[in-house]
Amino acid sequence: MLWVNVKRIIRSGFLNFGRNAFVSLSSVLVMVITLCTIGALIFVSAILNASLQEIRDKLDINVYFITTAPEADVITLQKTLESMPEVALVTYTSREQALEDFKKRHENDETTLQALEELGENPLGASLNVKAKNPAEYQGIADYLSNESTLSTDGTSIVDKVNYYQNKVAIDRLTSIIDSAERLGSVLTVVLIVISVLITFNTIRLAIFISREEISIMRLVGANSFYVRGPFVVVGTIYGVVAAIFTLLLFYPITFWLGGATENFFIGLNIFEYYTTNFGQIFIIILLSGMAIGALSSYLAVRKYLKV
């Protein structure tokens, strides 16, 4: 019997959805707005996370050596650093390589190249680029570099400078900007989601208000609460599914259009690519949110009229 009832409720829900086409359409459109807001939250947090990740990846320490530093000492330091557990990677750039890179960077800059020529010798020192496994460990590595191993064999420091301290301020500031942007963005979107869920709830309540007479008739001919409420919950769920499909289709041109802009503006995240690669996940989030909001709103909205 339960199965027969469920079948009847579902069929009746689909019929009601179709027969109240105008009410259905407006409810679906309102719900599309809600789901777009939820989708926006997903994209905004993806962009901010990608930016944060990108900045963290850019974080490293460069150790510049004086031009007279013996190569063997630099290599020894590289070995020592590599043996430290918190260090992920140490890249050695020799003086010759540094000069090469410099020339390449300035190949269109006649004056600079001429000045270099004039100098006669290589003014650049060797350098080590250190990447830590965890951004929090840079402080320790930088401290180690400036205290412990600055002495070469003859007692004078071979380290010219460690750039961590200059970059640190900029990196910290950027990180905190992104952090607060993320927090602000999340709060804003949560507020927007709450507002649009309430609007959806009210729209569905209005749609059911129209049917209050119907609900009381059903009660008077002896239908129990489950049987009266069922079709409304089904209709609410259908609103959710249809709105989710609309929303996902809508995201396609929107993200495509915004894709190039986000790629240039933020650090390398194209939201169109993000959308297409994470489509499965976004699909499920949007679909389930839509179904849950629709079904729950209907369930709650009918309750008021079931007292008959």
């Binding site: 027969v4 009832n5 009601n16 008739i217 009660r219 001919v221 002896g222 239908a223």
Partner: protein
């Protein structure tokens, strides 16, 4: 079958709808309840349907005190009663077939029963041709016949018709009353509320007259006079 025991109903705004009403209705009876608007006829119906609770007294259906039923037991109870309203109260989004099928579905009948009983009951009220029409495509008399078909399809113990002819012309009124008589002849108790003199006089059955929430007369073979 139905027994009102010293029933009073006072609405929250202090208006008295029923005052110490006592009467009983036997199985297979055809009872008309007459009175002016506001005499308490509709309140009686609402109490029988458990839409409202009495302020004092008890209403019995058989041996059950209707208002001691739990909220979840009310649907089951209502399936024993068929109701016809003045304003028809059909489900606007369902066609004639579905309107009648709905009350059968609510009563937990099988698809086979529904498929065979719905056309049958529509033949009974002479609406076989309008089976797929929606309520807004029907005339008042046709709507009321659908409502009657819905009321009797579950073979209830009792049919309550609350001013069923109030919105109908004389020809349709006559037809509806004939159908109600037929239902009663087939063994179902019928309670009819009305203020139509012609209907009462043509019936020649028991009449309970009400005034200001009180039963003022109860005649076995009554005529309309207030």
């Amino acid at each position: 079958m139905i027994y009102f025991d010293k029933v009073s109903k006072v609405y929250p705004d202090e208006s008295v709808a029923l005052q110490d009403v006592t009467f009983g209705i036997e199985p297979k009876e055809f009872v008309s309840i007459v009175g002016h608007s506001g005499a308490g006829k509709t309140t009686l119906v609402r109490l029988i349907l458990a839409e409202d609770r009495p302020t004092a007294g008890q209403v019995f259906f058989g041996s059950t005190d209707i208002h001691s039923l739990k909220h979840s037991e009310i649907p089951e109870y209502r399936r024993k009663i068929g109701v016809v309203f003045q304003d028809f109260r059909l489900l606007p989004n369902k066609n004639v077939y579905e309107n009648i099928a709905f009350s059968m579905e609510a009563a937990g009948r099988t698809d086979e029963e529904i498929e065979s009983d719905v056309p049958h009951v529509l033949e009974l009220v002479d609406l076989g041709k309008k089976i797929w029409n929606f309520p807004h495509e029907l005339s008042g008399g046709e709507k009321q016949r659908v409502a009657i078909a819905r009321a009797i399809v579950n073979q209830p113990d009792i049919v309550i018709a609350d001013e069923p002819t109030g919105n109908l012309d004389p020809v349709n009124t006559y037809e509806i009353v004939q159908i109600l008589k037929k239902i009663n002849d087939l063994g179902t108790t019928v309670i009819l509320t009305t203020h139509n003199k012609g209907v009462i006089d043509s019936l020649g059955r028991r009449v309970i007259a009400m005034e200001d929430g009180k039963v003022v007369r109860d005649d076995r073979q009554g005529r309309y006079s207030i």
